[in-house]
């Protein structure tokens, strides 16, 4: 009952955003869409990695991650205003496209963009369904999902989030966006598991391993974004340096260096000591999530071609998208728990069986 209601409400809001068509509204919508698309795609990535490596830490966070991955159809509804309001969001779709090399201009044009977006969202809905269908997914399936995600998410992140500066182009950028999304998804799932009191204790248990997973993803995130910065800093080309210069002006630099980076570093420092404790892990998750949200905003918003919305409008749009996504996600949590006999508390059969199927 929650799912149709969330879908309907979001559909109405999406149609309203398209009909109103104000650039500021669409701009705020894009940021919210990227946040929730990143969480769902990140959850799918964490699930694929966990199944592929048969990780113990997956068992306690599996239910919230699966529910987040299964929220993909809602993300597809969320994409509607982006699909139809391209010209207000992407400079290359506007009346005066910036100069680009010919192949890139062909790639970044409205029809191919829309086709890619529909195909990628369809692919993700299918992959999420495939990977959450069985209690013990085949490792080859998890590997195939991971391979499909790496390519599709790289393209999606480049298209949806970074193509607003057509000069900001590379094979690493999209991947960095996805790794950050995986970090955020695992942090959110761990936070939910902690809040429900289902994160196992113990120095060598899955709870400790989940914190190591957060630490690894956080370090990967900070490293991948730093590598981009140092490459641009070394090359010192005007177009690439401009991407960073725009993100220093108007308080953006303060937001990044004063909020996003310290939150991430503090989260990593708190995650580093052994023996996880619930309060400390919760603080790590909150810091990583806060760092992610601010960083996403910092990466997306300064390239807005037409209008930068008032933060209140951002908050209002998030106030619509957030509850819809959360409602859909919650319905998935309950369905998953009912269908598989409370997977959050029952130990993963893979973790209990002595021969873990790693022989082949």
């Amino acid at each position: 009952m929650i799912r149709p209601a969330a879908g309907l409400l979001l559909g109405i809001a999406a149609v309203a955003a398209v009909v109103l068509g104000q650039p500021a509204l669409l701009e705020a919508w894009l940021t919210g869409f990227l946040l929730f698309a990143g969480l769902s795609a990140g959850a799918l990535g964490v699930l694929a990695v966990g199944h592929l490596l048969r990780e113990d830490w997956l068992a306690p966070v599996r239910a919230p991650l699966e529910a987040a991955a299964l929220a993909m159809p809602l993300v597809a509804i969320m994409a509607l205003p982006v699909l139809l309001g391209l010209d207000a969001l992407y400079p290359w779709a506007g009346p005066v496209p910036p100069p680009m090399p010919e192949p890139r201009a062909a790639w970044l044009s409205p029809t191919p963009f829309r086709l890619r977006m529909v195909a990628i969202l369809g692919l993700w809905i299918g992959l999420a369904w495939l990977l959450t269908r069985q209690a013990r997914p085949d490792r080859r399936l998890a590997g195939a999902v991971l391979a499909a995600m790496v390519t599709s998410v790289t393209i999606a992140a480049q298209d949806w989030s970074l193509s607003r500066d057509p000069g900001w182009w590379g094979s690493l950028q999209g991947f960095a966006v996805w790794v950050e999304g995986m970090m955020a998804a695992l942090a959110a799932a761990a936070l939910v598991t902690l809040a429900r009191g289902r994160m196992p204790d113990g120095e060598t248990g899955p709870g400790e391993a989940a914190e190591r997973g957060l630490l690894a993803l956080g370090l990967a995130t900070i490293w991948l974004w730093f590598v981009q910065f140092i490459t641009v800093w070394m090359a010192d080309l005007p177009a690439e340096a401009g991407w960073y210069l725009r993100r220093v002006e108007d308080g953006w630099g303060l937001l990044k260096l004063g909020v996003a980076v310290p939150a991430l570093l503090l989260g990593l420092a708190l995650a580093a000591p052994p023996r996880h404790r619930p309060w400390r892990m919760a603080a790590v998750c909150l810091l990583l999530l806060a760092g992610h949200v601010v960083h996403l905003w910092w990466a997306v918003r300064p390239d807005a071609p037409l209008a930068r919305p008032n933060p209140l409008l951002d908050a209002a749009v998030l106030g619509v998208l957030g509850p819809c996504w959360a409602g859909w996600w919650w319905a998935g949590m309950r369905r998953g728990a009912g269908a598989r006999g409370s997977i959050a508390t029952a130990p993963d059969p893979a973790a209990v069986r002595p021969a873990r199927g790693t022989a082949h």
Partner: protein
């Protein structure tokens, strides 16, 4: 006359060892050690063994390594051999960071290993407990609890009596030095 290193009891399972440790702590024994074929986390906790000191050694060494790596790059690029690279500042902190990170990790890793060895007084060729009969099974299937002679209230007879009350497989006195056959005096 041989001095005593301690009194050691042998147990058949880790549960028995942990129970014995708890009883010994409750009875007031403080200087103890335990030996088991696999890590027994609870026993380590009861013995007060913590990895904290290694962590602090690693953090200190990592910061020191980072400082030295950054300082070296700064001194080389700014003072010793300044080169203008396309107008970039001589103090090029972004370019210094990767080497700084890597050296910090190297120092922290090396210092944790060395610190762990030093704190455990390793490497060490011999230890008095090796002379206890049947101790070789500490790396197979037996669990040993040693009450050390440096415990403030140690007495060989009292320690033996106490350990025997825990119903171990056997209790032996461990001499400080392995008796070696020498020339008759």
């Amino acid at each position: 006359m041989t001095t005593i290193h301690g009194v050691m009891a042998e147990f058949g399972s880790d549960e028995r060892l942990v129970a014995a440790l708890k009883a010994a702590r409750a009875a007031g024994w403080r200087r103890m050690d335990a030996f088991a074929p696999f890590p027994v986390a609870e026993a380590a906790e009861l013995l007060g063994a913590r990895g904290n000191r290694v962590a602090w050694i690693a953090i200190t060494a990592g910061l020191l390594g980072a400082g030295i790596a950054y300082g070296t790059q700064w001194w080389l690029s700014v003072h010793d051999y300044p080169i203008n690279v396309g107008g970039r500042p001589l103090h090029a902190w972004p370019a210094f960071l990767p080497a700084t990170t890597i050296v910090a990790i190297l120092w922290a890793a090396a210092a944790s290993l060395i610190g762990m060895l030093v704190l455990n007084r390793l490497p060490r060729l011999s230890h008095p407990v090796f002379a206890a009969p049947g101790f070789a099974r500490a790396s197979e299937d037996r669990f040993f609890l040693l009450i050390q002679a440096d415990d403030p209230r140690f007495g060989a007879a009292a320690a033996t009596r106490f350990l025997e009350s825990l119903q171990p497989l056997r209790v032996v006195e461990v001499p400080e030095q392995v008796p070696t056959p020498g020339p008759p005096t």
